[in-house]
């Protein structure tokens, strides 16, 4: 059975590789892609089978007696979390850290909250509003009133921004 499987795998590899080259030579790209895919599958399958066969052979080479000696003389694995296995009756460093850390973090959060709340008093907001007043929109909006438009007709009056707005509105003066 194994021989049949190996023959099928090798046969598929050779046939698909051959057909891929022939298809490429005939400019049949879709066929070449298909046979290339089959070639790749067969190649991966054969490589996997070879590796597994080699591993099986290596496993078979082990002498059970030697394996037993190796297992028996293996140093014990270090239990790095042995302290977690201690009973709850003893004072536990881990729990202490958790509780203590939580208290400290809560204190820091409360402090940050108080400081942040202190920066948003009504007086502070009014100061901010007055500081931003120079860049705020005009009260009447950006539309020009008639007086401003007429004022532009006065000789010597030259406001570049207003003229720009007038041009956009269709005034040609």
């Amino acid at each position: 059975m194994k021989i049949i499987a190996w023959l099928a795998g090798v046969g598929t590899l050779i046939a698909s590789g051959g057909y891929m080259v022939v298809s490429l030579n005939r400019w049949e790209w879709n066929r070449a892609l298909f046979f290339g895919l089959i070639f790749l599958i067969a190649e991966v399958a054969l490589a996997t089978a070879l590796i597994l066969r080699r591993l099986t052979r290596l496993e078979g080479r082990f002498d059970p007696a030697v394996e037993g000696i190796i297992r028996a003389t293996r140093p014990p694995a270090r239990d790095r979390f042995a302290w977690l296995n201690e009973s709850a009756q003893n004072s536990n460093v881990f729990i202490t850290f958790i509780v203590g850390g939580g208290i400290i973090l809560s204190g820091i959060a409360w402090l940050v909250d108080r400081i942040a709340a202190g920066t948003t008093t009504p007086a502070g907001e009014q100061k901010l509003a007055s500081a931003l007043a120079p860049i705020s929109y005009p009260r009447g909006g950006l539309l020009l009133d008639d007086i401003t438009v007429l004022a532009q007709e006065v000789p010597g009056a030259d406001d570049r921004q207003i003229r720009k707005l007038l041009r956009r509105a269709g005034h040609t003066s």
Partner: protein, 129 residues
Amino acid sequence: MNRVAAVVLAIVGLAIGILGVGVLREATLSTHDAIRPGSQVELLIEGDVNQNERTQTLAEMVEAQVLVCRLEVKSDLVGEIEERDDGSFRALLAPGLDETDRRQFRGCLEDWVIDGVRLDVIALNTLPS
């Protein structure tokens, strides 16, 4: 197997590989020649469909694949594709095809372009102008 034999085999394998890739490269490289104006190519094909839609005929499938494949070359169809008495199809293309276009066109026609359609090129004759 001794060391010398292994090295010789490796060199032979490498040479065969390089040669094979070179030959394949030459075979798939586009090198176009000048085509005589007014020249025409006669295409004779036979086709087969498998599990096609009931409303689609073999003639429609053949026409579709020929139209797709002629986009890969410089030639255009002249007139309609004729269905002959023996079940094969005949089409005329102009201008003629150079060697690369001829191989590309034949390869496209015989490739798996449309699901369930398989065409065989019987002949691709250059007609005297």
